[in-house]
């Protein structure tokens, strides 16, 4: 991925048109529904959610259009925002040593991605966990330290390292089409999960974690995502049938698992939403839960097939 503007890139132009087209068509449909079903709370809530998409999509697209550096900065900020939200929800944010350490580690990880040091990118979680585990020793404290260290380790690994794969993906050949595909496919997968969950299925998938998730909805969502992947196949350079099938599974299944991971966190904390950043969606984690889970899976699928010769040394 180039360090310079990529707004003129043919892939960016096509995806921008798709995004804009989807927003306009769904806006028109929602407008008709709003006229025919006046006062319907479901339509009203869908309109609030829809309006937020006009903020979320440019937030995702512009950094990609600005080039590699902006994309890495955006992923770093997203990781920090997700971890910060998690820390506020669990109460970890009151312990500045642990939150500060995780902030620092997320910055280090993305710097490693910037300098293309793949070996360090893979082993950094070991150093990060080691730092978090020696913090109680350095502070000579034990009270509540197991909880804070545990939450911090999960915070770094899940919100920092998992999402950090998007930063490293910018170093791969054809990174822009892959990243554009991922953002669009994951967003559509979320919409499909919501829609198919409403329309199909009665058998609960994990009733204690997310009462509204059903097997029928989950399978329907994977099918919709597979159709989306097939429709976008010409935009995925080098991808053959195997890679397309894996992409559909990774986005379709991984996206829903990401949603369920954040659901169990919320249920355990007794919270409905983890924030109020995006009206109709919730917080950062409510919006980007699927992307977090999907990112490393998609990254390693590409690394396995196309980047086998990747060097472990800096600049590789």
């Amino acid at each position: 991925m180039t360090n310079l503007f990529t707004f003129h890139d043919p892939a960016f132009v096509v995806y921008a048109k798709i995004w804009l087209g989807l927003l306009l068509v769904s806006g028109a449909l929602l407008g008709i529904l709003a006229l025919t079903h006046r006062g319907d709370p479901t339509v009203r809530s869908a309109l609030v959610t829809y309006r937020s998409w006009w903020v979320i999509l440019p937030l995702m697209a512009f950094p990609l259009g600005l080039g590699r550096a902006a994309t890495i900065v955006a992923v770093t900020l997203l990781s920090l925002a997700c971890f910060h939200e998690f820390a506020r929800a669990t109460g970890l944010y009151r312990d500045w040593y642990f939150t500060g350490a995780v902030f620092f580690e997320i910055l280090c990880l993305n710097y490693v991605a910037w300098i293309r040091w793949y070996g360090m990118f893979l082993v950094l979680p070991m150093y990060a966990v080691a730092l978090l585990l020696i913090l109680p020793i350095l502070r000579n404290r034990t009270e509540g330290m197991l909880q804070n260290a545990g939450l911090s380790i999960m915070g770094f690994l899940y919100f920092g390292w998992f999402l950090g794969h998007l930063s490293y993906l910018t170093n791969f050949e054809n990174a822009l089409p892959y990243l554009l595909f991922l953002t669009l496919a994951v967003a559509l997968n979320d919409v499909a999960a919501f829609a198919t969950g409403k329309l199909f299925g009665r058998r609960p998938l994990a009733s204690n974690v997310s009462p509204r998730k059903t097997w029928g909805g989950a399978i329907g969502c994977v099918i919709v995502t597979a159709v989306v992947v097939w429709a976008l196949r010409s935009m995925l350079p080098r991808f053959g049938p195997m890679q397309l099938c894996l992409s559909a599974l990774i986005v379709g299944v991984g996206g829903q698992l990401g949603d369920l991971v954040i659901s169990f966190v919320k249920r355990d904390l007794g919270l409905k939403d983890l924030g109020a950043v995006f009206p109709g969606h919730g917080g950062w984690l409510d919006r980007y839960d699927s992307l977090i889970f999907v990112s490393p899976l998609f990254f390693h699928m590409i690394a396995f097939y196309y980047e086998r010769g990747i060097s472990l040394s800096p600049g590789g």
Binding site: H84, R88, T90, G100, Q147, L271, G275
Partner: protein
């Protein structure tokens, strides 16, 4: 065996705009970090662009509650006073800022909260409640407070009458009150001007005053307020002579 207990932030379901206008705020590392970095940058900017000079810095208490009372002729005032404080007090000094102006819109609220640690002061609808909030900050949380008793920016650069709120806060207490005069901020960035000009800004900080014997009545508060105004004028004369 102990169970893990989670205590989420009380402002978790609030939007950013609501979180910025709510007081007391959540002490998050992000805001403290932004304030620290932002204040370092502002200190450097004030030192180079406005050639900020601080006279009487030794009068600032090292800890505990105190009130810094100053003239108000420019938006630069609160930040200039924050720059005069030692680094360790940046997060413990709160500037009383007009709620109807500084907490209107995300950008202004963000700047007010991050750089001046602003307390929303409702000068129109409910000033009494805002004064109670300030009193809690001083006497319960034992923090520092920056106040501009004129209530608004001066349009001619002169010192105008003080409102009695500051007198009510400190009458009958041993809380030290530091009179301060900011000279040059009006020339640098007067009300109505879009861009600050590179003019020299000087801050004079006078000796702390205490009013333990002043009765906490309307008359007592008026007397304290009048004395503080005189003290600010004396500080002005001192820095103009120096």
């Amino acid at each position: 065996m102990k169970r893990w207990t989670y205590t989420p932030s009380p402002l978790l379901d609030k939007t950013l705009a609501e979180r910025l206008t709510t007081f007391p705020r959540d002490p998050t590392l992000t805001v403290y970090g932004l304030r620290f970095v932002g204040m370092l940058a502002l200190k450097a900017f004030f030192a180079s662009y406005f050639r900020l000079e601080i006279i009487g810095r030794r009068h600032i208490p090292t800890s505990g509650p105190f009130v810094l009372v100053a003239n108000h002729a420019s938006h630069l005032d609160a930040v200039a006073l924050a720059c005069a404080l030692p680094v360790r007090q940046w997060h413990h000094a709160y500037a009383a800022a007009a709620q109807d102006y500084f907490f209107h819109g995300i950008f202004r609220s963000f700047v007010a909260v991050v750089f001046t640690n602003a307390v929303p002061f409702d000068r129109r609808e409910d000033p009494k409640r805002s004064l109670e909030l300030c009193a809690d900050l001083l006497h319960v949380s034992r923090e520092a407070l920056i106040m501009f008793p004129e209530g608004t920016r001066s349009t001619d650069g002169e010192l105008h009458e003080f409102r009695a709120g500051v007198g009510r806060l400190v009458a009958g207490t041993t809380t030290p009150v530091l009179p301060a005069y900011i000279d040059g901020a009006f020339r640098a960035w007067p009300k109505g001007s879009a861009i600050p000009r590179p003019r020299r800004v000087r801050i004079g900080i006078g000796e702390p005053r205490r009013y333990p014997d002043a009765p906490p009545s309307r008359a007592g508060a008026a007397a304290v307020t009048a004395d503080l105004r005189r003290a600010v004028l004396e500080t002005r004369e001192c820095i103009r002579k120096s």
